[in-house]
């Protein structure tokens, strides 16, 4: 028996992570604004973080654009626990 999952499952997990990341980043920025601390320093750091985030997302996208996400990844196979002749280890 073997269990294989398609690669796009990992892409979905990544997209969920991106959503959480964006939510936390917006909460952070909201804190700066409501705490009356929106200065040139906080603006520079926020701009730096958001620019680096966009760059990372863009690079990830360009490197993954040609991937076939329908491929499957074997996560479990009973053959792993049996020897070449079929006997159990």
């Amino acid at each position: 028996m073997s269990i294989a999952i398609p690669l796009y499952i990992f892409l979905f997990v990544y997209l969920i992570f991106i959503a959480v990341f964006l939510a936390f980043s917006i909460i952070n920025f909201y804190h700066i604004v409501v705490a009356a601390s929106f200065t040139i320093v906080s603006f520079t750091i926020s701009f730096f973080i958001f620019a680096l985030t966009l760059l990372t997302l863009y690079l990830t996208y360009t490197l993954l654009v040609d991937i076939n996400w329908q491929q499957t990844l074997l996560v479990f196979d009973t053959g792993w626990f049996t020897g070449p002749s079929g006997t159990s280890f």
Binding site: L7, F10, L11, Y14, F17, I18, F21, F24, S25, I27, N28, H31, I32, V33, V34, A35, A36, S37, V41, S42, I45, S46, I49, L52, T53, T56, L57, L59, T60, L63, L64, I67, N68, W69, Q71, L73
Partner: protein
């Protein structure tokens, strides 16, 4: 939001100091961030040298890329959260009171107020080489009430601030004494 709105500034009140921790105290976090950012590149070199087939595998390549991207974005978020923690810790000194705003974590903030005329004692503590070199330290402001005090953590120019606080406290005390006589 304007700082005056945030602290409910009174009509006769004006802000004299906005004190944050000395920027030098944030440098270790910047270094840690840079070192942690290097980790995926070091791992890439090690795996690429020892197991080059993993880096080119049709299934392992996208998985490693997603993992690397997740790691880097997590580090950005970590840095941003630490910056918020550093930058939103703020001590405001007005001609009437001291306001201590502490950002404990992302969803926890505490605000403490202390009237200048109630100040009984201002103590500074400077420990270590960096503290002496870069002129920063802790300033503890106490009132007669034993459970009411504010600590300015790693504030720049602590001695100058201590002197200013004592001066402002004396002025505020005179103002309040004058009001009581009227």
């Amino acid at each position: 939001m304007h700082l005056g709105e945030f602290i409910n500034q009174k009509s006769y009140e004006h802000i004299i100091y906005r004190i944050r921790r000395h920027p030098i105290t944030f440098i270790p976090i910047v270094f840690m961030f840079l070192i942690l950012l290097l980790v995926p590149f070091i791992v890439y070199i090690i795996i690429g040298t020892l197991f080059p087939e993993i880096m080119t595998g049709p299934r392992t390549y996208p998985l490693l890329l997603l993992l690397g991207s997740t790691y880097i974005l997590t580090m950005f978020l970590f840095f941003y959260v630490r910056f918020i923690d550093y930058y939103l810790d703020l001590w405001i000194v007005t001609n009437d009171r001291i306001i201590d705003i502490e950002q404990n974590n992302l969803f926890s903030r505490s605000i403490t107020e202390l009237d200048l005329f109630r100040i009984q004692d201002v103590t500074i503590e400077m420990h270590g080489l960096f503290s002496t070199l870069f002129d920063y330290g802790n300033i503890t402001v106490k009132t007669a009430s034993s459970n009411s005090h504010i600590i300015f953590t790693a504030a720049p120019h602590p001695n100058m601030i201590r002197e200013e606080l004592i001066k402002l406290s004396n002025e505020d005390r005179k103002y309040h004494a004058g009001q009581e006589e009227e």
